[in-house]
């Protein structure tokens, strides 16, 4: 703080409180709706305070789901999302570390070309190659499978770059010492690189878990079997009612459940999350 201006500090607090309210408003409204009964929505406006149906609504959704929408119980969808998010996060970290290791610690023909092939994935988000990607996955027989949900999203140029940076900062003396001691490349990787990049892996894991959990378009396209629905893609199927109103209290309970795990991860691991975010993007 440069000078003491109580007026400005007061204004700053006011701005921040307004910001927090705006940011929290939709979630509060959804939470209130999720504690109400179906009839509470008939009157026209939603009340602003929670009702008595909290446990009942959430138990219904987790156990049986909204059977009229053709979606499975939310518990199963959350499990599918968890499998997808974990596979993507772990898969991305594993293959990115291995390829960064290859690029930094070896000299081989076409090294530059390999690096460019990885770099190019930055420019090909799933949204711009939807139809052909779907055809490839269908051709491989991966529709309605956990492999189909996660494999096509596992390649990551940014994660490879991040590990490349991390490895570049590891002093050559360590490698030399390891070699003098007779360690082969894989032993060096396991005993030196892995432990030294532990916090980077954890930070990246937080970001990638959220990325995987929040996927929407891809699971929507490749899962037609309700057994493989993920919660983020499934919620839209619940809200889409052909005639009549959606069952708001149940849809909102699902929305709250869908955001709970990633939000908990961000709040619980804030330090790692910020580190991962700033490092991977820059």
């Amino acid at each position: 703080m440069i000078e003491n201006r109580p007026g400005l500090s007061f204004l700053a607090h006011l701005v921040l409180i307004a910001g927090v309210v705006i940011v929290a408003l939709p979630v509060w409204v959804a939470f209130v709706a999720s504690t109400r009964g179906a009839t509470d929505f008939m009157s026209g406006t939603i009340p602003m305070w929670p009702g008595p149906h909290l446990i009942e609504n959430y138990r219904t959704m987790l156990d049986t789901g909204l059977s009229t929408s053709g979606t499975p119980p939310v518990g199963l969808m959350m499990f599918n999302s968890l499998v997808m998010a974990l596979s993507i996060a772990i898969g991305k970290i594993a293959i990115s570390m291995l390829s960064a290791f290859a690029i930094v610690y070896f000299r081989f023909p076409f090294r530059g070309l390999a690096f460019w092939c990885i770099f190019i994935t930055l420019m090909l988000p799933v949204e711009v190659r939807i139809v052909p990607s779907f055809q490839v996955v269908a051709g491989l027989g991966l529709l309605n499978s956990y492999a189909g949900l996660s494999l096509p999203l596992i390649a990551s140029a940014t994660a490879t770059f991040l590990f490349r940076q991390v490895f570049m900062t590891i002093p050559d003396e360590l490698t030399e010492a390891a070699r003098i001691d007779g360690a082969g490349p894989m032993k060096f990787f396991r005993d030196i690189l892995l432990p030294l990049s532990r916090t980077n892996m954890a930070a990246l894991f937080v970001i990638l878990f959220i990325y995987g959990w929040n996927q929407y378009l891809w699971p929507l396209l490749i899962t037609t079997d309700a057994q493989y629905y993920t919660i983020v893609a499934g919620i839209k199927r619940m809200a889409d009612v052909v005639d009549g109103l959606p069952q708001w209290h149940l849809v909102m309970a699902t929305a709250i459940l869908a955001m709970l795990p990633p939000v908990a991860v961000v709040i619980g691991m804030q330090r790692l999350f910020v580190k991962g975010l700033v490092e991977t993007e820059k």
């Binding site: 703080m1 440069i2 000078e3 500090s9 700053a12 701005v15 921040l16 910001g19 927090v20 940011v23 929290a24 979630v27 409204v29 406006t45 939603i46 602003m48 594993a94 990115s96 291995l98 290791f101 290859a102 690029i103 610690y105 070896f106 081989f108 090294r111 390999a114 092939c117 990885i118 930055l122 420019m123 090909l124 711009v128 190659r129 939807i130 139809v131 052909p132 490839v136 996955v137 096509p152 390649a155 050559d172 070699r179 082969g184 929040n214 929407y216 983020v232 919620i235 839209k236 809200a239 708001w248 929305a255 869908a258 955001m259 990633p262 939000v263 709040i267 910020v274 993007e281 820059k282």
Partner: protein
């Protein structure tokens, strides 16, 4: 460059194999297919196809719907970027003044990052729902009849709010990091010279924040153009009357619902060129400022 390396010719390829395999199968091959299909006219089942040259692209540029979709995309991307960066900068500047409470505020402000775009869409869709939503009720008091199912403007406002809301936390974190990187001595010197807080912000803080701002500008445009598919799909579905049919949504709609593969592929190719351009800009101008 590493001085010490391992001498092995086969091992690096084994290490690269998983990454390269996935990149080829799921990225490069489909992208190649998109380019190939953009020159073909196929029936819905992909049985018959004929080479039509650039006709798919000509068709797009002649199509009022596609030009509309481009216009909608520009309006949408600019609005999302301006709203989310503006709010985030305001909040970041406010937090930067705080000594003790900044961590608490940061925690309270960052979590929307973790909310899926589809869920953000559903939440705002509910708040603005014309029959049960709370916002139409409030707007009705001031005499505004909100209905995003009928009004094109209302629909656009809805998708902009839902998309910008989710992005505020991201921009906020980068602005806070950017502000903290500015040496306090610069602002102190200006304060001694008698510059007030507003003057200091515009003459010193904001110019020094420009690398962060520029980086966020590119990231936000990419976000608004490519990652908001879920927001659109879970709220307006591109409607009413094409008012929120952004380019990414149209690729999906024409390809999967309309089964017009040639046109959808041509649209993919146009989008790919936009992503490449944005990525090049990002790397040319942003990466240069970051020291590795």
């Amino acid at each position: 460059m590493k001085r010490t390396i391992f001498n092995n010719q086969l091992l690096p390829w084994l290490l690269l194999a998983p990454q390269l395999a996935i990149t080829f199968i799921f990225f490069i091959w489909p992208a190649g297919q998109a380019i190939r299909q953009s020159f073909l006219r196929e029936d819905a089942f992909g049985i018959n196809s004929s080479f039509v040259g650039l006709r798919n692209f000509h068709g797009l540029l002649d199509s009022a719907q596609y030009l509309n979709s481009m216009k909608v995309t520009v309006i949408f991307a600019v609005s999302v970027t301006v709203v989310s960066m503006g709010v985030a900068l305001l909040l970041a500047v406010a937090v930067d003044r705080m000594l003790r409470s900044s961590r608490v505020y940061t925690t309270l402000l960052v979590w929307p990052y973790a909310v899926a775009p589809a869920v953000a869409g559903i939440l705002w869709w509910f708040i603005f729902n014309p029959t049960v939503g709370i916002m139409p009720y409030i707007l009705d008091v001031i005499g505004y009849d909100w209905n995003h199912n009928r009004s094109k403007t209302d629909a656009m406002i809805l998708v902009v709010i839902a998309s910008a809301w989710k992005q505020i936390s991201y921009n906020f974190l980068f602005f806070v990091a950017g502000l903290q990187a500015i040496p306090a001595s610069l602002r102190e010197a200006a304060a001694i010279d008698g510059a007030g807080p507003v003057r200091r912000f515009f003459d010193i803080t904001f110019p020094l924040l420009s690398p962060t701002t520029f980086f966020l500008l590119v990231v936000n445009i990419v976000y608004a153009m490519f990652e908001t598919f879920a927001v659109i799909d879970s709220t307006t579905g591109g409607g009413p009357a094409q008012a929120t049919n952004i380019m990414v949504y149209k690729v999906y709609f024409d390809g999967f619902i309309g089964q017009n593969l040639g046109s959808s592929a041509a649209q993919s190719v146009i989008l790919m060129m936009i992503v490449i351009a944005l990525t090049v800009i990002q790397f040319r101008y942003v990466e240069k400022r970051v020291e590795y």
